[in-house]
């Protein structure tokens, strides 16, 4: 992308130099990025342009690359929309550039690309996708004083490290785990719960919260099993779970694990209801599990798209441009917008100057009203419980969430 854009800036520079050099009032012909509507004006030299780079990190390769691409598309759309609006900061037209990096959902790679973005002098970072990559990377951004907004890292630890640079735009796993755990016991009537997690910061963290909530609501945990985020064979642990005869099985993990797991549960004749958190609450799960996904209960941090204040329009625009939304693209869209909004209020794209403004955000995004508490968590984060019916995610109920501002 750099290669495409830099010449654009050079052309403008060269053009303005040429004008100055000639000393004549010649209007630059076809000044590439100059705004079309203002063409009629006598043009007191085109407004100075400034490039502001925003980093985005998500796994673009590996088992959950589809989710990573979804996040990146959300951020890319936000950057395109912001560029179309010709945002001005400090008298300069800002051209936002998205530097998309791939962390392979791997904590080590996550730290490496975080450093890469710091070195590339980005103004802020949206990401990472996984909690396991977001937490180690957040220390690097913090040291560099770069604002970081994760659109999907739900592990509570991320914002508990005392970093003034770490923010997230959806509810964390304490909230989500308690909603799902309580739902399984109270609404689904589960007495015996089996819990599986994928040993990632996300899966394990969420599973722990569900365990706490389910115990608190009066259920017994009959099995706690483990797999990993790259596995496809779960028959051994499922067989063990089957022997314990649970009412509900909860998976703390991603859709790529949940899909084959559901099929194998069916093959083993396990009757228990399957529940999972946001990582498995995607259209991809339905695609991977097919009919075996019927009746799955899952939760997402946030409101269902149809309840989002500007959700419908976002949904249409996004689908037109990139296809089906997986889970978190609306959040990465908003995360970019929150950064830009803070820059506007601070009238600066310098992280030192606009960072304080990020904490004071009060922004009406496509996912609802965004305000941060002192830790950087979203205030009033919503959790929605879905059931998969006829191959679609159907909203059962939502908890929390601020009223959509019209």
């Amino acid at each position: 992308m750099n290669h495409v854009r830099i010449p654009g800036v050079l052309v403008v520079l060269a053009a303005s130099m040429a004008i100055i050099g000639c000393g004549k009032k010649e209007e630059p012909k076809a000044a590439a990025p100059a705004p079309a509507p203002a063409a009629a004006a006598p043009a007191p030299a085109p407004k100075p342009e400034m490039v502001v780079k925003i980093g985005h990190v998500a796994p673009l390769t590996g088992p959950i690359a589809h989710l990573g691409k979804d996040n990146e598309n959300g951020a890319r759309m936000a950057v395109d929309d912001a560029n179309a609006k010709k945002v001005e900061i400090d008298g300069k037209v800002i051209k936002f550039e998205l530097l998309g990096e791939d962390d392979q959902a791997d904590p080590k790679t996550g730290a490496v690309v975080a450093q890469k973005l710091v070195d590339a002098k980005v103004a802020g970072v949206v990401g990472h996708l996984n909690s396991g990559t977001t937490i180690p990377a957040s220390a690097i951004y913090n040291q560099a004083g770069l604002p970081q907004i994760s659109p999907s890292a739900t592990n509570p630890k991320y914002t508990q490290q005392g970093f003034n640079t770490a923010f997230r735009v959806m509810a964390n796993d304490i909230q989500q785990g308690s909603v799902v755990g309580t739902y399984a016991v109270k609404d689904m009537g589960a007495k015996k719960v089996a819990i599986i997690d994928d040993r990632t910061a996300y899966g394990q963290g969420l599973a722990d919260e569900v365990e706490k909530a389910a115990k608190a609501a009066g259920a017994t945990i009959v099995a706690r099993e483990f797999t990993n985020d790259k596995a496809t064979d779960f028959k051994a642990i499922l067989t063990k779970i089957k022997a314990k005869n649970p009412d509900v099985v909860f998976l703390g993990g991603m859709d790529a694990v949940g899909g084959p797991m559901l099929k194998q549960m069916k093959e083993l004749g396990i009757k228990a209801k399957f529940t999972t958190g946001d990582g498995g609450c995607s259209p991809e799960l339905i695609k991977l599990a097919g009919p075996a996904s019927e009746g799955v209960i899952c939760s997402q941090a946030g409101l269902p798209p149809e309840k989002l204040p500007n959700g419908q329009k976002f949904l249409e625009d996004f689908t037109k441009k990139y296809g089906q939304i997986q889970i978190y693209s609306p959040y990465s869209y908003d995360a970019v917008m929150v950064l830009i909004d803070a820059m506007k209020r601070a009238n600066s794209a310098d992280p030192v100057k606009y960072l304080p403004e990020v904490g004071k955000t009060s922004y009406d995004g496509v996912t609802g009203k965004i305000e941060f508490d002192e830790k950087g968590d979203i205030k009033n984060g919503a959790i929605t419980v879905f059931e998969i019916k006829d191959g679609k995610l159907v909203t059962l109920k939502s908890e929390g969430g601020s009223a959509p501002a019209k």
């Binding site: 390769t61 064979d233 084959p260």
Partner: protein, 307 residues
């Protein structure tokens, strides 16, 4: 008891797949002493090709079994060509290079193939269309599907065929001769290049069969699926004694069973001190113990200086 039986069935299916993939590693290693790390990717390409064929034929009105057969056949042929090309392009020029060079090349080829697959088939998971109507049978409280039966019996059939090929045919004799001493074999009129190419071709064909099995068993495919599978199969080959056909089969089955039983019982055995996340560790502990007592694997005795 029914749980144990179920775990044995789980392990057997997994083991059959490992064994087939392990054969690909062991054949190549047995003949030229190269660990072909790209073999896992050949398996993945096999799955992907079968997937493409099956999807494009799905609406043609052919019978599902025939479609599956065509998918398998096409994927076997494609993988054979791929295996041959790998050897020709990446390994043959390095035949006399130090041992480390082809090994690094193999890892490189594995990355190249993964990325080519990502470009062709995308980075998303692919759902393998279920062509066989899954039937679930039960015996003694344990359940298994007709797909599992098909996998285990097809694997057994293919392995028997391979043993026949190596021990009863001319090309098999040439392979064994080359494995013993390539120079002497070539003096005796064996075309070494052809024999080595054949080892890659046959190994890749087995990989394609394994790939189709994995695809129809788990019903999903992904461009990175070959990596873990390849690693496990390589482990199985080492466990059984790399370079030895019977060893690869035994190692594969054993590894599958160890994994299933490990995940199923390690928690109970240690009073939940170690959970099922120690499944892989358990498998590797067994590997280490075996190698301590039999450094060349369970069946490996004739490796000598080639190891």
């Amino acid at each position: 008891m029914d749980t144990l039986l179920q775990q044995l069935i789980n392990g057997l299916t997994l083991g059959a797949v490992y064994a087939l993939v392990a054969l690909g590693y062991t054949m190549v290693y047995g003949i030229i002493g190269l660990i072909n790390f790209a073999h896992g990717e050949v398996v993945m390409i096999g799955t992907m090709v079968a997937f493409t064929v099956i999807v494009s034929l799905a609406s043609s009105g052919m019978s599902p079994l025939l479609i599956l057969g065509v998918g398998l056949l096409v994927s076997v042929v494609v993988c054979m060509v791929l295996g041959w090309a790998l050897e020709r392009v990446a390994y043959r020029p390095l035949r006399h290079a130090p041992r480390l060079t082809p090994l690094i090349t193999a890892i490189g080829m594995s990355i190249v193939l993964q990325n080519v697959a990502m470009i062709i088939w995308g980075r998303n998971y692919i759902t393998f269309p279920p062509m066989i109507n899954k039937q679930i049978y039960e015996i003694g409280g344990a359940s298994f599907t007709n797909v599992q039966v098909a996998i285990v019996s097809l694997a057994a059939l293919v392995m028997l065929g391979l043993i026949y090929l190596v021990h009863r045919t001319r090309i098999g004799m040439a392979m064994r001769a080359t494995a013993q001493n390539p120079h002497v074999a070539s003096l005796m009129g064996v075309d070494i290049n052809r024999v080595i190419a054949m080892a890659f071709i046959i190994g890749s064909a087995l990989g394609a069969v394994a790939g189709c099995m994995v695809g129809s068993y788990y019903e999903i495919a992904h461009y990175q699926m070959g990596f873990m599978l390849g690693l496990k199969a390589f482990t199985a080959a080492v466990l059984g004694g790399i370079g030895n056909l019977a060893g690869a089969m035994a190692g594969g089955l054993l590894l599958g069973l160890i994994e299933a039983l490990g995940a199923g019982y390690i928690g109970d055995l240690t009073g939940d001190f170690l959970g099922s996340h120690y499944q892989d560790i358990f498998a590797f502990i067994v590997l280490i113990i075996v190698l301590m007592f039999r450094p060349s694997g369970l069946f490996g005795e004739r490796t000598g200086d080639r190891a």
